[in-house]
Symmetry: C2
Subunit: 199 residues, 2 copies
């Protein structure tokens, strides 16, 4: 396997194991990747370095889905809901929740976080501009809703994914400007409330 | 304090403490209730008996809100959404989640669970019959949605409650038949999937 493919395989193995247990050992991750623990430590000097690589990869996947949605200018609402579905199907919010409290934010992760926020805001502006999205919905709302949907877990991966799609459909219908019977009450989460959960 | 008021005070103290930490000790609960541990053990022979009493009380509160909503036959949709708001404001789904895995289901709790299911089904039939509720929404959907909303927690009780109301408003708009852009995909959770989470 070429080195970059091996890196990818390690990240995928780490995602899989960390989604089951965010406190998994390097040994468990090495086993899932089909390599020795020593080999894993040659790539990542310690578990924190690996966790940061996994978190960075999670951000990059998120931004890639958001960028793809932004390129669909014909139907911003469809692009937006498709983006939410991809992000959920890939388990990105679940991994974010799992890594909370485990991963230490370094400069690279802070930069990726800013990029993810900016790209989501661009996507929301497009959906809002098309008139389809409730105007008061913010990026912080989307963060909370994705995390809540990501937490749905009935013990079986296939069924859990199907249920996440069921409730995403309901939430997306609730996000539409046409559906609003009233303005959403209270302010959305403040940035500090969202960031506080990383502490 | 008359004995029944003291019982109520103990249950309220237990709710408060268990919502913070479902594995709280009898000592922590006694302290919150402003009584000695020995006094608490005179009322509840062991922690499991107290947990079962708290769970039973939680079911009874839920059913009382549902019955109140059923008595409003003028506007079944308004009664239904008000019911959801009361249940969330009172923290009933949060306590259910907190007690999961901690409380052992005895016959009394099984009977109360059946009563809660039946009452919710009657409420859903009324909301469906009025044409306001998406016809495919089941009691299991409501269980999942209430638990998801109940889990919203930004570390501050007042802000968390305000955010739960914000997203409940969005979810209620999504639950309306008028809002449906398509049928909700996939089946709702099976009973075994919901019950399995109590194991």
């Amino acid at each position: 396997m070429p080195p970059q493919n091996m890196d990818r395989a390690v990240l995928i193995a780490a995602r899989t194991v960390l989604l089951r247990d965010a406190r998994a050992t390097m040994a468990a991750i090495a086993e899932e990747a089909g390599m020795g623990v020593a080999g894993l430590y040659r790539r990542y000097a310690n578990k924190q370095t690996l966790l940061q690589a996994v978190a960075a990869d999670n951000y990059r996947r998120y931004v890639a889905f958001a960028e793809a949605a932004l390129s669909d200018t014909d139907d911003p609402w469809h692009a937006f809901t498709d983006f939410l579905r991809h992000v959920l199907d890939e388990g990105l919010p679940r991994l974010t929740v799992a890594l909370r409290g485990e991963v230490t934010f370094d400069q690279r992760l802070s930069d990726l976080d800013k990029l993810a926020v900016n790209t989501t805001n661009r996507l929301l502006r497009a959906a809002r501009g098309s008139g389809a999205l409730r105007p008061e919905v913010t990026r912080a709302d989307i963060t909370v809703l994705l995390e809540q949907l990501g937490r749905i877990d009935v013990g079986d991966d296939v069924r859990s994914a199907a249920l996440r799609r069921r409730y995403l459909t309901l939430v997306c219908d609730g996000l539409r400007a046409d559906s609003a019977t009233r303005r959403l009450p209270g302010p959305p989460p403040h940035e500090a409330e969202l960031l506080g959960r990383w502490a």
